[in-house]
Protein backbone atom coordinates (compact mmCIF):
# COMPACT_ATOMS: atom_id res chain seq x y z
CA UNK A 1 0.00 0.00 0.00
CA UNK A 2 1.27 3.44 -0.91
CA UNK A 3 0.06 6.51 0.97
CA UNK A 4 1.33 9.90 -0.18
CA UNK A 5 1.14 12.91 2.11
CA UNK A 6 0.90 16.13 0.11
CA UNK A 7 -0.35 19.62 0.75
CA UNK A 8 -0.19 22.31 -1.88
CA UNK A 9 0.77 24.95 0.65
CA UNK A 10 4.08 24.51 2.43
CA UNK A 11 4.41 24.24 6.18
CA UNK A 12 0.98 22.76 6.80
CA UNK A 13 2.23 19.66 8.60
CA UNK A 14 2.91 16.97 5.98
CA UNK A 15 5.92 15.67 7.84
CA UNK A 16 4.10 15.81 11.19
CA UNK A 17 1.30 13.64 9.80
CA UNK A 18 3.55 11.32 7.76
CA UNK A 19 6.07 10.58 10.52
CA UNK A 20 3.35 10.25 13.18
CA UNK A 21 1.52 7.76 10.98
CA UNK A 22 4.64 5.70 10.25
CA UNK A 23 5.66 5.56 13.91
CA UNK A 24 2.27 4.35 15.21
CA UNK A 25 2.07 1.76 12.43
CA UNK A 26 5.57 0.57 13.31
CA UNK A 27 4.75 0.42 17.01
CA UNK A 28 1.58 -1.56 16.35
CA UNK A 29 3.53 -4.21 14.43
CA UNK A 30 3.00 -3.21 10.79
CA UNK A 31 5.69 -3.51 8.17
CA UNK A 32 6.12 0.11 7.19
CA UNK A 33 8.49 2.41 5.29
CA UNK A 34 8.86 6.16 5.48
CA UNK A 35 10.07 7.70 2.22
CA UNK A 36 11.04 11.35 2.32
CA UNK A 37 10.39 12.60 -1.23
CA UNK A 38 10.71 16.25 -0.20
CA UNK A 39 14.22 16.13 -1.63
CA UNK A 40 14.73 19.89 -1.62
CA UNK A 41 14.47 20.02 2.12
CA UNK A 42 14.01 16.58 3.66
CA UNK A 43 13.27 16.87 7.37
CA UNK A 44 11.49 13.65 8.32
CA UNK A 45 14.68 12.37 9.96
CA UNK A 46 14.18 14.92 12.74
CA UNK A 47 11.13 12.98 13.93
CA UNK A 48 12.16 9.50 12.80
CA UNK A 49 15.70 9.51 14.29
CA UNK A 50 16.89 6.89 11.77
CA UNK A 51 20.20 5.05 11.45
CA UNK A 52 21.28 5.39 7.82
CA UNK A 53 23.85 2.90 6.61
CA UNK A 54 23.60 3.14 2.83
CA UNK A 55 24.00 6.08 0.50
CA UNK A 56 23.67 6.03 -3.27
CA UNK A 57 24.51 8.82 -5.70
CA UNK A 58 21.83 9.52 -8.30
CA UNK A 59 22.74 10.71 -11.78
CA UNK A 60 20.90 11.89 -14.86
CA UNK A 61 22.05 11.50 -18.42
CA UNK A 62 23.49 14.66 -19.95
CA UNK A 63 24.84 15.04 -23.50
CA UNK A 64 28.54 14.97 -24.31
CA UNK A 65 29.38 15.97 -27.85
CA UNK A 66 32.05 14.23 -29.88
CA UNK A 67 32.98 17.34 -31.87
CA UNK A 68 34.91 15.45 -34.56
CA UNK A 69 31.82 13.39 -35.46
CA UNK A 70 29.42 16.36 -35.23
CA UNK A 71 28.20 17.75 -38.55
CA UNK A 72 26.75 20.88 -36.88
CA UNK A 73 23.31 20.08 -38.31
CA UNK A 74 21.61 21.64 -35.29
CA UNK A 75 19.01 18.89 -34.79
CA UNK A 76 19.89 18.48 -31.10
CA UNK A 77 19.44 22.15 -30.24
CA UNK A 78 16.24 22.34 -32.26
CA UNK A 79 14.83 19.38 -30.35
CA UNK A 80 15.76 20.53 -26.85
CA UNK A 81 12.90 22.50 -25.31
CA UNK A 82 15.11 23.33 -22.31
CA UNK A 83 17.77 24.96 -24.51
CA UNK A 84 20.57 22.86 -23.07
CA UNK A 85 22.50 22.83 -26.35
CA UNK A 86 23.76 25.60 -28.60
CA UNK A 87 25.13 25.06 -32.09
CA UNK A 88 27.72 27.63 -33.14
CA UNK A 89 29.51 27.79 -36.47
CA UNK A 90 32.23 25.38 -35.32
CA UNK A 91 31.02 23.44 -32.28
CA UNK A 92 28.10 22.42 -30.11
CA UNK A 93 28.22 23.63 -26.53
CA UNK A 94 26.10 22.12 -23.78
CA UNK A 95 24.50 23.54 -20.65
CA UNK A 96 24.13 20.50 -18.34
CA UNK A 97 22.39 22.60 -15.68
CA UNK A 98 19.42 23.02 -18.04
CA UNK A 99 19.32 19.38 -19.21
CA UNK A 100 16.38 17.27 -18.01
CA UNK A 101 18.05 14.02 -19.04
CA UNK A 102 15.58 12.89 -21.71
CA UNK A 103 18.30 11.60 -24.04
CA UNK A 104 16.51 12.97 -27.12
CA UNK A 105 19.61 14.69 -28.50
CA UNK A 106 21.54 11.41 -28.38
CA UNK A 107 18.65 9.43 -29.88
CA UNK A 108 18.04 11.77 -32.80
CA UNK A 109 21.62 12.77 -33.69
CA UNK A 110 22.11 11.60 -37.31
CA UNK A 111 25.91 11.49 -36.87
CA UNK A 112 25.84 9.65 -33.50
CA UNK A 113 28.00 12.43 -32.13
CA UNK A 114 26.16 12.65 -28.80
CA UNK A 115 27.53 10.46 -26.02
CA UNK A 116 25.74 9.81 -22.79
CA UNK A 117 27.50 11.61 -19.96
CA UNK A 118 26.21 11.76 -16.43
CA UNK A 119 25.59 14.44 -13.88
CA UNK A 120 25.00 13.88 -10.19
CA UNK A 121 21.74 15.39 -8.97
CA UNK A 122 21.68 14.11 -5.41
CA UNK A 123 21.84 11.13 -3.09
CA UNK A 124 19.42 8.57 -1.71
CA UNK A 125 20.04 7.38 1.83
CA UNK A 126 18.63 4.19 3.25
CA UNK A 127 18.39 3.06 6.82
CA UNK A 128 16.04 2.06 9.57
CA UNK A 129 14.19 3.74 12.40
CA UNK A 130 13.61 0.85 14.76
CA UNK A 131 11.71 -1.72 12.70
CA UNK A 132 10.56 0.85 10.14
CA UNK A 133 12.40 1.35 6.87
CA UNK A 134 13.66 4.89 6.37
CA UNK A 135 14.58 6.33 2.95
CA UNK A 136 15.27 9.88 1.98
CA UNK A 137 16.53 11.75 -1.04
CA UNK A 138 18.66 14.83 -0.82
CA UNK A 139 19.00 17.08 -3.84
CA UNK A 140 22.44 18.48 -4.54
CA UNK A 141 22.63 22.21 -3.89
CA UNK A 142 22.43 24.11 -7.17
CA UNK A 143 20.46 21.41 -8.97
CA UNK A 144 17.04 22.50 -10.18
CA UNK A 145 15.74 19.14 -11.37
CA UNK A 146 14.32 16.87 -8.69
CA UNK A 147 11.78 14.39 -10.21
CA UNK A 148 14.45 11.79 -11.17
CA UNK A 149 15.64 11.86 -7.56
CA UNK A 150 12.06 11.50 -6.27
CA UNK A 151 11.68 8.47 -8.53
CA UNK A 152 14.94 7.03 -7.19
CA UNK A 153 13.55 7.36 -3.65
CA UNK A 154 10.31 5.67 -4.75
CA UNK A 155 12.23 2.65 -6.07
CA UNK A 156 12.81 1.72 -2.41
CA UNK A 157 9.12 1.16 -1.72
CA UNK A 158 8.26 -2.08 0.07
CA UNK A 159 6.38 -4.44 -2.22
CA UNK A 160 4.54 -5.85 0.80
CA UNK A 161 3.87 -3.40 3.55
CA UNK A 162 2.78 0.17 3.98
CA UNK A 163 4.73 2.94 2.27
CA UNK A 164 4.20 6.47 3.52
CA UNK A 165 5.63 9.07 1.17
CA UNK A 166 6.29 12.57 2.40
CA UNK A 167 5.71 14.78 -0.66
CA UNK A 168 7.27 18.16 -1.36
CA UNK A 169 4.89 21.12 -1.09
CA UNK A 170 3.24 22.57 -4.16
CA UNK A 171 1.68 20.93 -7.19
CA UNK A 172 4.58 21.06 -9.63
CA UNK A 173 6.69 18.22 -11.07
CA UNK A 174 8.32 16.95 -7.83
CA UNK A 175 4.95 16.75 -6.03
CA UNK A 176 3.36 15.08 -9.07
CA UNK A 177 6.24 12.57 -9.26
CA UNK A 178 5.64 11.68 -5.60
CA UNK A 179 1.86 11.30 -5.70
CA UNK A 180 1.74 9.48 -9.06
CA UNK A 181 0.98 5.79 -8.56
CA UNK A 182 -0.06 6.11 -4.90
CA UNK A 183 -3.13 4.25 -3.61
CA UNK A 184 -4.18 7.22 -1.53
CA UNK A 185 -3.15 10.79 -0.94
CA UNK A 186 -3.56 12.60 2.38
CA UNK A 187 -3.87 16.35 1.78
CA UNK A 188 -2.74 18.29 4.82
CA UNK A 189 -4.04 21.85 5.03
CA UNK A 190 -4.72 24.65 7.45
CA UNK A 191 -7.93 26.66 7.85
CA UNK A 192 -6.75 29.86 6.15
CA UNK A 193 -7.67 31.29 2.73
CA UNK A 194 -4.13 30.47 1.59
CA UNK A 195 -4.45 26.91 2.87
CA UNK A 196 -7.78 26.52 1.11
CA UNK A 197 -6.48 27.94 -2.15
CA UNK A 198 -3.58 25.51 -2.31
CA UNK A 199 -5.69 22.62 -1.06
CA UNK A 200 -7.94 23.13 -4.08
CA UNK A 201 -4.91 22.94 -6.37
CA UNK A 202 -3.55 19.84 -4.62
CA UNK A 203 -6.95 18.11 -4.77
CA UNK A 204 -7.09 18.85 -8.48
CA UNK A 205 -3.61 17.39 -8.91
CA UNK A 206 -4.54 14.16 -7.08
CA UNK A 207 -7.73 13.93 -9.11
CA UNK A 208 -5.93 14.28 -12.43
CA UNK A 209 -3.48 11.59 -11.33
CA UNK A 210 -6.42 9.31 -10.47
CA UNK A 211 -5.35 9.07 -6.83
CA UNK A 212 -8.19 9.18 -4.26
CA UNK A 213 -7.59 11.67 -1.50
CA UNK A 214 -8.79 12.89 1.88
CA UNK A 215 -8.09 15.95 3.98
CA UNK A 216 -6.35 16.46 7.32
CA UNK A 217 -6.78 19.93 8.84
CA UNK A 218 -3.87 21.07 10.92
CA UNK A 219 -3.94 24.00 13.35
CA UNK A 220 -7.73 23.70 13.34
CA UNK A 221 -9.50 26.48 15.21
CA UNK A 222 -11.13 29.55 13.77
CA UNK A 223 -12.28 29.44 10.20
CA UNK A 224 -12.76 25.68 10.07
CA UNK A 225 -15.94 26.00 7.96
CA UNK A 226 -13.64 27.17 5.20
CA UNK A 227 -12.12 23.71 4.72
CA UNK A 228 -15.24 21.79 5.73
CA UNK A 229 -17.34 23.55 3.11
CA UNK A 230 -14.75 22.82 0.48
CA UNK A 231 -14.65 19.12 1.43
CA UNK A 232 -18.46 18.90 1.28
CA UNK A 233 -18.54 20.65 -2.05
CA UNK A 234 -15.84 18.43 -3.55
CA UNK A 235 -16.93 15.21 -1.87
CA UNK A 236 -13.60 14.82 -0.12
CA UNK A 237 -13.51 12.97 3.20
CA UNK A 238 -12.31 15.07 6.15
CA UNK A 239 -10.11 12.49 7.85
CA UNK A 240 -8.67 14.19 10.90
CA UNK A 241 -8.25 17.53 12.64
CA UNK A 242 -5.18 18.52 14.58
CA UNK A 243 -6.09 21.46 16.81
CA UNK A 244 -4.09 24.64 17.10
CA UNK A 245 -2.33 23.61 20.28
CA UNK A 246 0.70 24.99 22.04
CA UNK A 247 1.59 21.51 23.34
CA UNK A 248 1.73 20.04 19.84
CA UNK A 249 3.64 23.02 18.47
CA UNK A 250 6.21 22.80 21.25
CA UNK A 251 6.60 19.05 20.75
CA UNK A 252 7.17 19.66 17.03
CA UNK A 253 9.80 22.28 17.69
CA UNK A 254 11.69 19.81 19.89
CA UNK A 255 11.50 17.06 17.26
CA UNK A 256 8.93 15.01 19.19
CA UNK A 257 6.61 13.22 16.75
CA UNK A 258 2.85 13.77 16.86
CA UNK A 259 2.11 10.34 18.33
CA UNK A 260 4.16 11.24 21.41
CA UNK A 261 3.15 14.89 21.62
CA UNK A 262 -0.05 14.34 23.57
CA UNK A 263 -1.95 11.38 24.95
CA UNK A 264 -4.43 9.96 22.44
CA UNK A 265 -2.67 10.79 19.19
CA UNK A 266 -1.38 7.27 18.66
CA UNK A 267 -4.99 6.10 18.65
CA UNK A 268 -6.07 8.96 16.36
CA UNK A 269 -3.34 8.14 13.87
CA UNK A 270 -4.25 4.44 13.86
CA UNK A 271 -7.84 5.45 13.21
CA UNK A 272 -6.61 7.64 10.36
CA UNK A 273 -4.88 4.60 8.90
CA UNK A 274 -7.92 2.35 9.19
CA UNK A 275 -10.09 5.06 7.59
CA UNK A 276 -7.65 5.30 4.69
CA UNK A 277 -7.52 1.53 4.35
CA UNK A 278 -11.33 1.47 4.18
CA UNK A 279 -11.35 4.23 1.58
CA UNK A 280 -8.79 2.38 -0.55
CA UNK A 281 -10.87 -0.82 -0.33
CA UNK A 282 -14.05 0.94 -1.39
CA UNK A 283 -12.11 2.74 -4.11
CA UNK A 284 -10.93 -0.61 -5.45
CA UNK A 285 -14.49 -1.94 -5.34
CA UNK A 286 -16.31 1.05 -6.80
CA UNK A 287 -13.51 3.22 -8.09
CA UNK A 288 -14.16 2.69 -11.77
CA UNK A 289 -16.94 5.23 -11.60
CA UNK A 290 -14.43 7.98 -10.99
Amino acid sequence: MIIAVASGKGGTGKTTVATGLVLVLRDSGHKVAYLDCDVEEPNGHIFMAPQCNESEDIFIEVPEIEQDKCALCGKCAELCVFNALLVTSDEVITFPELCHGCGGCRYFCPAQAVRSGRKKIGTVERGTAGRAVFVRGELQVGTALSPPLVNAVKKNQLSRGINVMDAPPGTSCPAVATVRGADFCILVTEPTPFGLHDLALAAQMAKSLGVPCGVVVNRAGDGRELIENFCLQEGLPLLMKIPLSRTIAEAGSRGVPLNQAEVGWDRMLLLLYSDIKGLIMSERAYGNQR
Binding site: V81, L86, V87, T88, I93, L98
Partner: protein, 128 residues
Protein backbone atom coordinates in the same frame (compact mmCIF):
# COMPACT_ATOMS: atom_id res chain seq x y z
CA UNK B 1 29.12 43.33 -40.01
CA UNK B 2 25.60 42.59 -38.91
CA UNK B 3 24.53 44.39 -35.75
CA UNK B 4 21.46 43.41 -33.70
CA UNK B 5 19.66 45.52 -31.11
CA UNK B 6 17.26 43.97 -28.59
CA UNK B 7 13.91 45.77 -28.86
CA UNK B 8 10.28 45.62 -27.82
CA UNK B 9 9.06 46.18 -31.41
CA UNK B 10 10.23 45.52 -34.98
CA UNK B 11 10.74 49.11 -36.16
CA UNK B 12 13.53 51.68 -35.99
CA UNK B 13 11.48 53.88 -33.69
CA UNK B 14 10.62 50.96 -31.39
CA UNK B 15 11.88 51.17 -27.83
CA UNK B 16 14.90 49.08 -27.03
CA UNK B 17 14.61 46.22 -24.51
CA UNK B 18 17.19 45.90 -21.76
CA UNK B 19 16.58 42.18 -21.58
CA UNK B 20 18.59 40.05 -23.95
CA UNK B 21 16.91 36.63 -23.73
CA UNK B 22 13.36 37.85 -23.42
CA UNK B 23 13.14 40.80 -25.77
CA UNK B 24 10.38 40.52 -28.38
CA UNK B 25 12.51 41.42 -31.43
CA UNK B 26 16.07 41.77 -32.60
CA UNK B 27 16.38 44.61 -35.10
CA UNK B 28 19.34 43.76 -37.33
CA UNK B 29 21.37 46.23 -39.45
CA UNK B 30 23.56 45.00 -42.22
CA UNK B 31 26.46 47.42 -42.62
CA UNK B 32 27.35 46.12 -46.09
CA UNK B 33 23.92 46.33 -47.69
CA UNK B 34 22.49 49.05 -45.44
CA UNK B 35 19.37 46.90 -44.93
CA UNK B 36 17.37 46.60 -41.73
CA UNK B 37 15.38 43.55 -40.73
CA UNK B 38 13.44 42.54 -37.62
CA UNK B 39 13.73 39.02 -36.27
CA UNK B 40 11.05 37.92 -33.81
CA UNK B 41 12.74 36.34 -30.77
CA UNK B 42 11.42 32.84 -30.22
CA UNK B 43 13.33 32.68 -26.92
CA UNK B 44 10.85 35.06 -25.33
CA UNK B 45 8.51 32.27 -24.22
CA UNK B 46 11.11 29.66 -23.30
CA UNK B 47 10.64 28.25 -19.82
CA UNK B 48 14.38 28.10 -19.28
CA UNK B 49 17.47 28.98 -21.24
CA UNK B 50 15.90 31.91 -23.11
CA UNK B 51 19.29 33.58 -23.46
CA UNK B 52 20.82 30.48 -25.04
CA UNK B 53 17.92 30.20 -27.44
CA UNK B 54 18.26 33.87 -28.40
CA UNK B 55 22.01 33.43 -28.92
CA UNK B 56 21.31 30.49 -31.25
CA UNK B 57 18.84 32.64 -33.19
CA UNK B 58 21.44 35.38 -33.67
CA UNK B 59 24.03 32.82 -34.82
CA UNK B 60 21.65 31.39 -37.39
CA UNK B 61 21.04 34.92 -38.69
CA UNK B 62 24.80 35.54 -38.98
CA UNK B 63 24.79 38.42 -36.51
CA UNK B 64 28.28 39.66 -35.47
CA UNK B 65 27.46 42.24 -32.83
CA UNK B 66 24.64 42.35 -30.27
CA UNK B 67 23.69 45.58 -28.53
CA UNK B 68 21.52 45.02 -25.49
CA UNK B 69 21.14 45.80 -21.77
CA UNK B 70 21.62 42.86 -19.46
CA UNK B 71 23.18 39.49 -20.22
CA UNK B 72 23.10 36.60 -17.76
CA UNK B 73 25.87 34.04 -17.25
CA UNK B 74 24.53 31.29 -19.54
CA UNK B 75 23.65 33.74 -22.32
CA UNK B 76 27.13 35.26 -22.04
CA UNK B 77 28.75 31.84 -22.30
CA UNK B 78 26.62 31.13 -25.38
CA UNK B 79 27.44 34.49 -27.02
CA UNK B 80 31.17 34.09 -26.35
CA UNK B 81 31.11 30.55 -27.75
CA UNK B 82 29.45 31.95 -30.88
CA UNK B 83 32.09 34.73 -31.00
CA UNK B 84 29.57 37.53 -30.93
CA UNK B 85 30.71 40.91 -29.71
CA UNK B 86 28.44 42.15 -26.92
CA UNK B 87 27.76 45.81 -26.22
CA UNK B 88 25.51 47.10 -23.46
CA UNK B 89 23.91 50.39 -22.54
CA UNK B 90 20.86 50.46 -24.79
CA UNK B 91 18.65 53.50 -24.30
CA UNK B 92 15.67 55.09 -26.05
CA UNK B 93 14.80 53.79 -29.50
CA UNK B 94 16.56 51.35 -31.80
CA UNK B 95 17.69 54.21 -34.09
CA UNK B 96 19.13 56.18 -31.15
CA UNK B 97 20.99 53.10 -29.91
CA UNK B 98 22.44 52.51 -33.38
CA UNK B 99 23.69 56.13 -33.42
CA UNK B 100 25.37 55.57 -30.07
CA UNK B 101 26.94 52.36 -31.27
CA UNK B 102 28.30 54.05 -34.41
CA UNK B 103 29.70 56.95 -32.38
CA UNK B 104 31.54 54.44 -30.18
CA UNK B 105 29.95 55.53 -26.91
CA UNK B 106 28.68 52.07 -25.90
CA UNK B 107 30.72 49.80 -23.68
CA UNK B 108 31.72 46.28 -24.69
CA UNK B 109 30.93 43.46 -22.27
CA UNK B 110 33.15 40.46 -21.56
CA UNK B 111 31.48 39.03 -18.46
CA UNK B 112 27.80 38.63 -17.51
CA UNK B 113 26.18 41.73 -16.03
CA UNK B 114 23.01 40.08 -14.74
CA UNK B 115 22.50 37.43 -12.10
CA UNK B 116 21.48 33.91 -12.96
CA UNK B 117 17.76 33.19 -12.67
CA UNK B 118 15.52 30.34 -13.56
CA UNK B 119 12.73 31.04 -16.00
CA UNK B 120 10.62 34.15 -16.13
CA UNK B 121 10.99 36.36 -13.07
CA UNK B 122 8.40 38.98 -12.33
CA UNK B 123 10.81 41.68 -11.19
CA UNK B 124 14.17 41.53 -12.83
CA UNK B 125 16.78 43.69 -11.24
CA UNK B 126 20.13 44.50 -12.78
CA UNK B 127 23.18 43.59 -10.72
CA UNK B 128 24.81 46.74 -9.46
Amino acid sequence: MRIAVSAVGPALDSSVDERFGRCAFFVVFDEQTGDTEAIPNDGVNAAEGAGIKSAGLLLRNRVDVIVTGRVGPKAMQALLAGRLAVYTGVEGTVAQTMEQYRSGSLSPLGVPNARSHNGITSKEKPVK
